[in-house]
Subunit: 270 residues, 2 copies
């Protein structure tokens, strides 16, 4: 198991690599993981989302417990929407309330799959081999927009706003997801705590089935869907999603706050 | 009015520029339109989609005539889904039937807006200035998947398959869209012929409103939605979408056909 992160350096460049004992061992990139030889202290670096996905595929209804609660049948194929690249922020950055939206904003703590190599029509075994590692996603939704128009459910709009896809803090390769739980807290109070073993489609099954539809590229992220305990975030509240081994993804909901985003991004973890 | 195209050169490089009298006057890029000084004969070049969008925003229900026929109210905000970057092909390339899908595949001839500069919270005037030009889109759909699951309409999946977003052949800057019509033929028989003046949200209104939600980046495409005459494409049939001044976007529906795609891509227009 290795922990991989992405940072902005003091000169504004982006560095990616393996993190160990407070240092970043730099690598060329996620799909060409060749060490550059550079070793940097994390103290001088500002964390970013651990990858820069060209697309984020977000699953709906992928946990048995949530399907039972919603009284929906378990799907026979992954049901998904797309979140745009510009919606991605890292841990510590602020989720920004859209200027013209006063409604409910909802968190969903999720496991994220990070693709390591191009993947099309993959078997389940090929799909497993194409997974670089696992991260944490908070799949944020402007919930009141979803069914605002009775003729067209606005999944992409409600979930696609800038800053509505929190990813991080790290990618863990070789992660035994089946034994792990997703724990979400809202201002420190636990709201979600569910086992990943309850997933309908396993990560390799998701990658295999989705790759029959869309070519998946290195750095793309699949958000595996959430389970029980989804709820709304008040302005100023902090959502923290933890998966043991990967870490904690923490983001505040700010109003209008480019400055808040910058301030949070500067809070480098030890 | 200038015509802009993108090509693959013999050495596998991608070139972009202004087309005039059978020659490409190369420019750095769409967002930095600075001439490089190179002038290339089109005979040596293979056409690609005229831009490489990081995201394609596709509108639903944006024409009064179609809204009336579907008996749906005209929306108060653009209703959209996202098509992934990997779904984009140029004119002459083949639409490929997904391996595990035997159902109906549908064409939609549309005007495409190509974004020229980063655009966030833009006024209508700022939005108009951020439009680089206009292209043609065939927004292809695996129609039987859309409502296959009664609990979740699969817009992104049905419209997101590789090759399901045909864009081209060119981008026309300074285009007077209001006077133009979209004409779609299927194997030479006219199926759509509708005026762009019937649009609900004008291009600048679309860019302005969507930029309140998502930051639009240079090269991003907004497909303006279609009107009357949508229909299904039989395997082997050719869909040609024309807008006078921009040109004709022509794509065949192939089964299994990487080879067909390559053969079509090699058919360089004069």
């Amino acid at each position: 198991m290795d922990t991989w992160m992405r940072f902005m350096s003091n000169d504004g460049g982006v560095v990616f690599g393996r993190v160990e004992n407070g240092y970043l061992h730099e690598y060329d990139s996620l799909d060409q993981p060749v060490p550059t030889g550079a070793v940097l202290s994390l103290r001088t670096l500002t964390p970013l989302a651990p990858c820069a996905p060209g697309k984020v595929v977000a699953l709906w209804n992928n946990f048995h417990a949530l399907a039972a609660k919603l009284d929906k049948p378990v799907p026979s194929h992954p049901l998904f929407l797309l979140k745009p690249p510009g919606s991605v922020i890292g841990s510590g950055a602020a989720i920004r309330r859209p200027a013209h939206y006063a409604g409910k904003i909802v968190y969903e703590g999720e496991l994220g799959i990070v693709i390591g190599r191009r993947c099309r029509n993959a078997t389940v075994d090929e799909a497993a081999a194409a997974i670089f590692g696992y991260t944490i996603v908070n799949d944020v939704t402007a919930a009141d927009l979803l069914n605002e128009n009775p003729h067209f459910p606005q999944w992409c709009r409600a979930k696609g706003f800038d800053t509505f896809c929190c990813i991080g803090p790290a990618i863990l390769s070789g992660f035994a997801w089946r034994d792990a739980r997703v724990v979400t807290t809202l201002d420190g109070v636990e709201r979600q705590n569910y086992p990943l073993a309850d997933m309908v489609f396993s990560p390799a099954e998701q990658v295999s089935l989705i790759s029959q539809d869309l070519t998946l590229e290195p750095g793309d992220v699949i958000a595996c869907g959430t389970s029980l305990g989804v709820g709304s975030i008040k302005d100023g509240a902090t959502v923290a999603v933890s998966i043991e081994g990967i870490g904690t993804l923490s983001n505040v909901l700010a109003v209008g706050g480019q400055d808040v985003a910058a301030a949070n991004a500067a809070a480098v973890p030890a």
